[in-house]
Symmetry: C2
Subunit: 343 residues, 2 copies
DNA sequence: GGCAGGCATGACAGCGTTGTCTGACCACCG
DNA sequence: CGGTGGTCAGACAACGCTGTCATGCCTGCC
């Protein structure tokens, strides 16, 4: 019971406390704690006993400070509750965990300003690296961020400026597979309900749709309605397009929410349209008919991004790389041609 | 350009660099950075200019170390990709963010061992507090954790041992509302498909079901089938129970997954059963018929837990408190009595 | 017996901040 | 003109750990 341990008995014990109690130096305690070689077994045992008795736990903050790394990476997304992002989060956390790192997750709520603030806070903490699903394309290619030297991997959307590691989904291939699937089932008049063109992915998918429409030589010009969409707006557009001389017989929806709006509209209107949705969703095979979707694999994307990041942390100095992850068409029935009477 | 800033020019500049460049002391830089009073405006301006020029950013790790707090809280759950947990995560992160804290999220993958390891790692980092959805009831009422003094709030399931702050969902009330709803619509023979009784919540819901069954004076003994369930097992049990002299006319499912299994079974069997599911799910109103559910509000629970935690961090010393969050019955149609011919 | 070499251990500095204390300088007052 | 008090600034130590280097001791060999 030295004076040292006395006055801090309420506080957590430090290596100094352990050292005093075990009659060794702080460095020896450090060696024991970190399983470094060069400590006689009996000394080590004695130290361990004191550690146990005092309930000592190494202060990782101090350690990080000394070593200059935090064993922490961060993930910045728009909204953690969104399944697309939470699957990414789970995957990134997993990669971090198996490498003894911890993950700080932060939401930017879609605001570029907030996103920048969040990233700066993370940099101030000296996280070892960051995975970002950027809110907009200008995002954080900020001088301060550049200067920080903190490795960053972008996901789902690219950013302008200096090339950076980026993991994207194959929007073009996804849309093409959807169109081809519908065409293979006899459809010729296919429409796209896309998301707000403010989103890069929405624009990508629109372009892919138009391009595929042309390259397959489908008649007429491609029917496209970009968002934002409400169930009502979807219904109106749909009604219009199915009453032309060349009625739309199949639709592709640009994301999850639109798929749902469309399903509701279809149910109300009792229209026998075929449908391929972009983005899988949990109960796609429970609705009637089960919805065929273009499945992007957020978990795989998150994993890939984390792996890229860790490669950088391990010293990979190769030029920034952009990886495009494939999508998969999950055929469930809604993409087949149905006659109006089938229900 | 002093020798100091020279040899570290590649590395991030520190307050010492700024101080040297601005011909002031480190402490003055600190004061400027932290907007402390007592710095002449022109001095402050000069310092700020150098900060800007050098791209200095305060090293929060050092700050934390000095101040003894990390401005970090942590959330430990089973699986971040699970919507129940990711909604909690989003809510907790939000509470943290508005209080200038950051959130470390960690998955324990349902393993008590891993959970303990994860929590110890977080304690070693000196996170200011932890929100835990414990994997089992013995969880982490571990001596080491106790001794760490780190405030912990438990969620969804209580733990044994010393009372701790806990936020639970009103399983009893939720089940009762489900039963009462079905009874109000004429059902007398109601069955429960519960989850694996290894889970505390599953046991709670079973007990609530049995108790409500009795207190409402329903005929016969309560029909209960506890998990784990597969779609097949559900189908078999269901077939059996609907072929007795007193056929089951309504079921309550103990969670999300079971609800889905049951919906699949119902579709195959073309049984006209009424259904109330426990746990809301995203497309509950898109399936046919829309599923009536007992809605627990994970976001509200997470928010509550985080608020409790921050109260502790601000010095609240009152005895540990258990909060039971209410559930809400969302009536959507599947709970009404239907005749076999209605479809 | 003397010395090289290996092993166990310790002293010390330093990671980048901030809290405390001290000091320089100036103005104002009696 | 000495004393009082206020403002601005800096010196210094400390937070808890680890990397580097030094030291002491023992063994073994010539």
């Amino acid at each position: 019971m030295t004076a040292l341990s006395d006055h801090r008995t309420a506080i957590r014990p430090t290596m100094a406390d352990v050292a005093a109690e075990a009659h060794v130096s702080v460095k020896t305690v450090s060696r024991v704690v970190n399983h470094e070689p060069g400590v006689r077994p009996d000394t080590a045992e004695r130290v361990r006993a004191v550690i146990e008795r005092l309930g000592f736990r190494r202060h990782d903050g101090a350690r990080m400070m000394r070593q200059g790394r935090t064993f922490t990476i961060a993930l910045v997304v728009e909204d953690l509750a969104n399944p697309f992002y939470s699957q990414i989060g789970a995957a990134v956390e997993r990669e971090a965990r198996i490498r003894q790192h911890q993950l700080i997750t932060a939401s930017a709520e879609g605001s570029p300003t907030r996103e920048r603030a969040v990233i700066e806070a993370l940099i101030n903490r000296r996280v070892d690296g960051i995975v970002v699903v950027p809110a907009d394309e200008s995002a954080s290619s900020d001088a301060a961020v550049e200067a920080s030297q903190t490795p960053i991997v972008y996901m789902d959307r690219p950013v302008r400026g200096t090339p950076r590691d980026t993991v994207l989904s194959d929007n073009h291939g996804g849309i093409r597979s959807a169109v081809e699937h519908l065409v293979a089932h006899g459809h010729r008049s296919i429409a796209l309900f896309g998301d707000d063109p403010a989103f890069w992915t929405a624009r990508q998918r629109r372009e892919a749709f138009v391009a595929t429409h042309q390259s397959l030589g489908l008649p007429g010009s491609a029917r496209v309605s970009m968002g934002p969409h409400s169930p009502t707006s979807v219904r109106e557009t749909l009604t219009r397009w199915t009453q032309t001389a060349d009625p739309t017989t199949a639709v592709i929806t640009g994301n999850n929410r639109i798929t749902i709006a469309l399903l509701l509209a279809l149910r109300d209107l009792r229209l026998p349209l075929s449908l391929v949705g972009y983005d899988d969703f949990e109960l796609a095979d429970l609705v009637d008919p089960p919805v065929t979707v273009v499945h992007q694999d957020p978990a795989a994307m998150g994993q890939k991004a984390a792996q890229q990041l860790f490669a950088r942390l391990l010293g990979d100095e190769s030029p920034a790389q952009t990886v495009v992850m494939p999508t998969r068409l999950v055929v469930r029935g809604s993409g087949l041609r149905r006659s109006p009477a089938s229900r």
